[in-house]
Symmetry: C2
Subunit: 392 residues, 2 copies
């Protein structure tokens, strides 16, 4: 894995989780990075989200380190703001930077006070353990109900030289467009100013994390950050910026896909593609309704080509259309033509629906150019098992 230059990583077990797995991690950028971030739009926001937002504002998009813990969301807690501030201060002191240069993030249960003591004790251990190769240990430390770590990296030849992009993320449930119990960090050694990072992140998020849904729930802690520390000594030209932006989007699409594929209890990744609607926004609404429909997702779990549920979900998306203009494809097999059952071999299709990746395509006939893609997963009994006893 080719990692971007100028980043060091560490993860340790502080004692927040019940089981002894690393639960706190640090990513340090040398030199400090330009940064952009998007956060949950939930009215209920965790203390670290508020703090991260305020820190980024006061530094105008500069980040020296990301401090992240799992096992406790530090949300709806009496002491939340104080605890987050203390952690930022301690990390800043250890790293000889200002507290505003720390981007804090938490994930885990809501409404339980987060004891700062074990985390404060862990900070010297973290800084001592920092290493350029411990990338995966951070990805693992962030996991909650995730069954596997989610990472991706890319090397890119630009006009002025080679740059690298790496992404790591967590998230399995409570995931829905406009974010999730998702933490996602994308790191690059290219030299890109914060203002451009914000534009690139916003576009990339729309095509990746904001096109992702597991269960229609949206969390209080979602944080997605893009850091560029310039350690490669390459400042993308205007033409290169588009290449760079496309690569960031690909990285984030890969992360979003990995989250969907690891959706709580999921056996299958579902990719929903919608074309031919008037606008992209219309296509997104249709795609989101399908990707969020428990009936569609349970049908896919059962390898049942029940296209009526797909058509019906499109029908209640709030977007107006004539069902007689709609074709539906499952695994590239047309199952619904002009709103009616198409001819297809049901047994053959059923066995193709057993694959680990299922493609749903809804095509509206006509001249509409609006299209969208959503990532989701099938809905199995394990989702219920996982979520019925999360805290116990």
């Amino acid at each position: 894995m080719k990692l971007p230059l100028g980043y060091r990583y560490a993860a340790v077990y502080a004692g927040i989780r019940k089981d002894e797995r690393d639960d706190v991690a640090l990513i340090v950028s040398d030199p400090p990075a330009q940064a952009a971030a998007v956060f949950t739009t939930n009215m209920v926001q965790a203390a670290p989200v508020r703090q991260a937002r305020s820190n980024l504002r006061s530094t105008r998009g500069r980040v020296a380190a990301i401090l992240v813990n799992a096992g406790n969301a530090n949300c709806a807690t009496r002491t939340g703001d104080r605890v987050t501030l203390a952690l930022c201060k301690a990390a800043a002191k250890a790293l000889k930077t200002r507290k505003e240069m720390i981007l804090p993030a938490s994930t885990g249960v809501i409404g339980v006070e987060l004891d700062p003591k074990p985390l404060l004790d862990a900070i010297p251990k973290l800084t001592a353990a920092l290493s350029p190769s411990a990338f995966e240990s951070v990805a693992r430390a962030m996991m909650t109900t995730d069954t596997r770590m989610k990472i991706v990296s890319r090397e890119l030849q630009l006009g002025k030289g080679i740059i690298r992009i790496a992404g790591l993320t967590k998230g399995a449930g409570m995931i829905q467009p406009n974010m999730a119990t998702t933490l996602g960090f994308v790191l690059t050694d290219a030299d890109v100013p914060a203002k451009q990072l914000r534009e690139i992140l916003s576009r990339a998020a729309r095509r990746s994390y904001h096109s992702l849904t597991v269960d229609g729930d949206m969390s209080t802690n979602d944080t997605l950050a893009l850091l560029a520390n310039g350690a490669a000594g390459v400042k993308p030209h205007r033409d290169d910026l588009q290449t760079f932006s496309a690569a960031v989007t690909e990285v984030m699409e890969s992360l979003a896909e990995q989250i969907a594929a690891d959706g709580e209890g999921a056996k299958k990744l579902i990719v929903v593609r919608v074309t031919g609607f008037k606008t992209e926004e219309d296509a997104r609404k249709v795609g989101r309704a399908i990707a969020n429909s428990p009936l569609v997702k349970t049908a896919i779990a059962g390898s049942d080509p029940n296209w009526g549920r797909i058509l019906s979900a499109a029908g209640y998306s709030g977007i107006s259309f004539d069902p007689r203009d709609i074709d539906v494809y499952l695994q590239n097999v047309r199952v619904c033509q002009r709103g009616l059952a198409a001819d297809y071999d049901e047994d053959q299709l059923k066995s193709r629906l057993d694959e680990s990746e299922v493609h749903i395509r809804v095509e509206r006939q006509g001249r509409g150019k609006g299209q969208a893609r959503f990532f989701t997963c099938d809905f199995t009994e394990d989702y219920i098992r996982i979520n019925g006893s999360y805290r116990t």
Copy 2:
């Protein structure tokens, strides 16, 4: 059970279902009734929905009979309109009325052609079997994944005499505000003109069926009709109309509750009450987000007082509020006070969450008068089992 005068009922097995249970039913009103109905707002509408709408328009709200089949939704079918029309004609002929006086309704799988032959053959059997006491057999014939029939009746003393109201309904999955795979019929022997029935139905639907969600899915076949045949010889006075309207609302609330309690795989009825928001519409949005949240519903399934998920669902409802104004109650126990964990006995509360009816209350402090109530159910592994193999 005190049933309204002037209605006769019949149900038989026509052969639409695979298992030999009654799958077609007839409700006849003598004399023909004044009627109002609300239908699914899904863009994809079943043929019987289109026909019923058009029939009611052409008769200006008069219905002689309701013809309903289970096992096939007659939706997204090539021959749907023709089949529905043929059925209306045949029923009208047998009952010596006009085809527009028949209200057709279907429920079952989408996208499979409905063979009219067995239904046409069943019509003489239905008319021969008509009886004023076969009410429950119709409620049973409508059932699909329902585990029990859903009926209610009420007798009411008005100024001018006694009237009766009876309701029967079906629905278990694919249920969401603004309707469901729900068929609901409310019959009264009061004498109320169609225009007033429409107002009464609209108000009552808002407080019952439109405040009901099982899985966030909305079907193509939802039909809810209110019939008044005047057979009691009592025309409610202006003052009595309010009493009558309240009774219709109660009947429909009971039906909606019965549907939620029988939600696919559900072990528990969940009643969500939201108070203190600016408007009723705001409170409804908050209530709907909570009632639709798979994370809230799986937590209740596991008797887990995970109020953080309730607060978080309120937070992404789209309604703006300060979490520090929010109290949350579970079974009348305050679990969250001003956005933070309240003191309560978790073990005791856990055992109270094992009850078959769970009450969630979200109170916003302040002077807001907007309130709402939603009916839903817990989300169990059985939901997945039922929906993963519905067609097979």
